[in-house]
Symmetry: C2
Subunit: 340 residues, 2 copies
């Protein structure tokens, strides 16, 4: 009998001092690569994971004949700290385990990824940084923090700074999860299942658009009714996860801000203006928590950015791979960007 | 020492058989009137309450010089069953108290209101039925169920049938409240405060628009920061309420449908077409749970209806009285409607 196949590798990063001032010891960065790094080391693409996503969840945009063609590019998919595979509340030994897992920023993630690419592969420049949702937040950070090393940026359904409304939406999600007394402030022995289910039900209204439900597109996803979708998809999604991991990632998301660092000192406009990458920014046209308006503000302050909303009624999920037309839309934009 | 002044009257409706087949005994309908019924009894306006609102919450649209001028009209504000003043889980004696309070529909409310107006005042016709949010749902029911008795309809931030997305949003709110084990399936001795607070935090993202938060309009409401708004306004709002009442009203809201009755047998288009009233339908242009699209569908199937979205960044709250420009917009529309 063998366990499930491990389809990723791990970069052992040792001690990592975080923005919050704590040291994450014996840090593990799990990743998966597609394709081969060329001799010039100029075909590298970074494609970090989304909220609670894992490296496998990014494969809808990777494939032969697609923009992210592994025959041509070396595509690295690093797992976010907190996602349960990279260092997380659920897999870090005491004393920084579980409820004591330190607050990790997107900045922390990206600084770690930078070191990883450099030490493991000798990569100094990226042909492209891209991502969806929290992945887009990381890609934005890459472009702002390393403007001379990131040639292109594709931000899909994400922003350079988490908006106040987006923050509030996440507060609601968090409140639903932590209303379950079984959560015990993070010191549970069993997952707080009621809270995880409640979190799923809260997220259900936010993740898709009003029109998605009006047209009953959950049927196309294999769910017969709204309740079938709420239980089968949304509750099921979060029941597979660890509560502390989910909360750690919410903290990371809520504090995403390309200017929240020594370099930009909170000057968001300055951080946007620092981005040199040729960029295509693709919000879902009906996204309820990363709405196009936040990206409009950003694109207007970036040097070489185009705003290209994805015409989709899948709300936030427009960029996540389930809307096949949206995937084609994104893939075409990536082709154009990589050809430039 | 005296208690707080009672500023409403009560219609003792006796036994009311509900759509669900249960009998609500000794039913109390609390109401407040503004103005005087004229001799012809043709100046009556019904203006039912919103979710968890009370009669006093409707007074932003009532006043001398406004469309709803009590010198001219007799304006009756009935409290929804379940709102804590009319018959509710919190004030109904056993065996139909608390978690056993029966499922009440909007149809039940409107049929009761109809009997109340007839028996108490001898009113047979209404110059106008109007309301905001769940109040609009009731006004819609009035117009569809009594097409020859409702001359005008103003539906503000509400729909004739609760959409699937709206239903899902409410499932999230409900899940947050009921994730608190102190709720005890409704058989609590003390209010489930953690759940009520969580419910408030979930609602916070839904009630206003993304742009409301982007422009920090909570400051205009007297809250210094987002967290100040979340605790001071949202948690505070629901902590004042009874959990079973809130859940009963969510059930009522979720099942709002002008065609869910013997007369229309679920034929929604037929119910819309049955409305004879001259109507102005006013969604908030940025409302996240009663978005303009649902009203567009309705207006296209009504005989004499105009869609007039309220230009506002206050999301659902556009129609609730806090956006002063929106109040003027609504008041002007009501003047026009009443003059027609």
């Amino acid at each position: 009998m063998s366990g499930p196949a491990i389809d990723y590798e791990v970069f052992a990063a040792g001690d990592v001092v975080l923005q919050c001032g704590l040291t994450l010891r014996d840090t593990k960065l799990a990743y998966k690569c597609h394709g081969t790094l060329n001799r010039e080391r100029n075909n590298a693409i970074i494609f970090p994971t989304r909220y609670s996503g894992r490296h496998g969840d990014n494969e809808y945009l990777i494939g032969e004949g697609m923009a992210l063609d592994p025959r041509k590019y070396f595509i690295i998919v690093p797992n976010l700290l907190g996602n349960g595979i990279s260092s997380s509340p659920s897999n870090t030994p005491p004393p920084f385990d579980r409820a004591r897992f330190p607050n990790v920023t997107i900045h922390d993630n990206v600084m770690l990824q930078r070191r990883f690419l450099s030490e493991r592969f000798g990569i100094d420049r990226l042909a492209l940084a891209l991502g969806w949702s929290m992945g887009a937040q990381q890609a934005y950070h890459w472009a702002a923090l390393f403007p001379d090393k990131v040639e292109r940026l594709a931000a899909i359904g994400g922003s350079a700074r988490t908006s106040d409304h987006n923050f509030v939406f996440l507060e609601g999600v968090k409140a639903a999860l932590t209303a379950d007394a079984a959560w015990r402030g993070g010191w549970y022995d069993q997952q707080p299942a009621v809270g995880l289910r409640a979190m799923g039900r809260v997220w259900a209204g936010w993740g898709l658009s009003q029109t998605f439900y009006r047209r009953k597109l959950y049927r196309d996803m294999g769910y017969a009714t709204v309740e079938d979708f709420l239980v089968g998809f949304w509750e099921g999604l979060f029941l597979q996860r660890d509560a502390n991991n989910l909360l750690a990632l919410i903290w990371t998301w809520q504090h995403g801000d390309i200017s929240a660092n020594d370099r930009f000192q909170g000057d968001f406009d300055k951080a946007l203006a620092a981005i040199e990458a040729r960029a295509i920014v693709m919000p879902g046209s009906t996204d309820l928590y990363f709405p196009p308006e936040d990206n409009e503000y950003e694109v207007a302050r970036m040097k070489r950015a185009a705003l290209r909303p994805i015409p989709s009624i899948w709300g936030h999920y427009a960029g996540g791979g389930r809307d096949k037309e949206a995937v084609q839309f994104i893939d075409r934009a990536l082709m154009e960007l990589l050809a430039s």
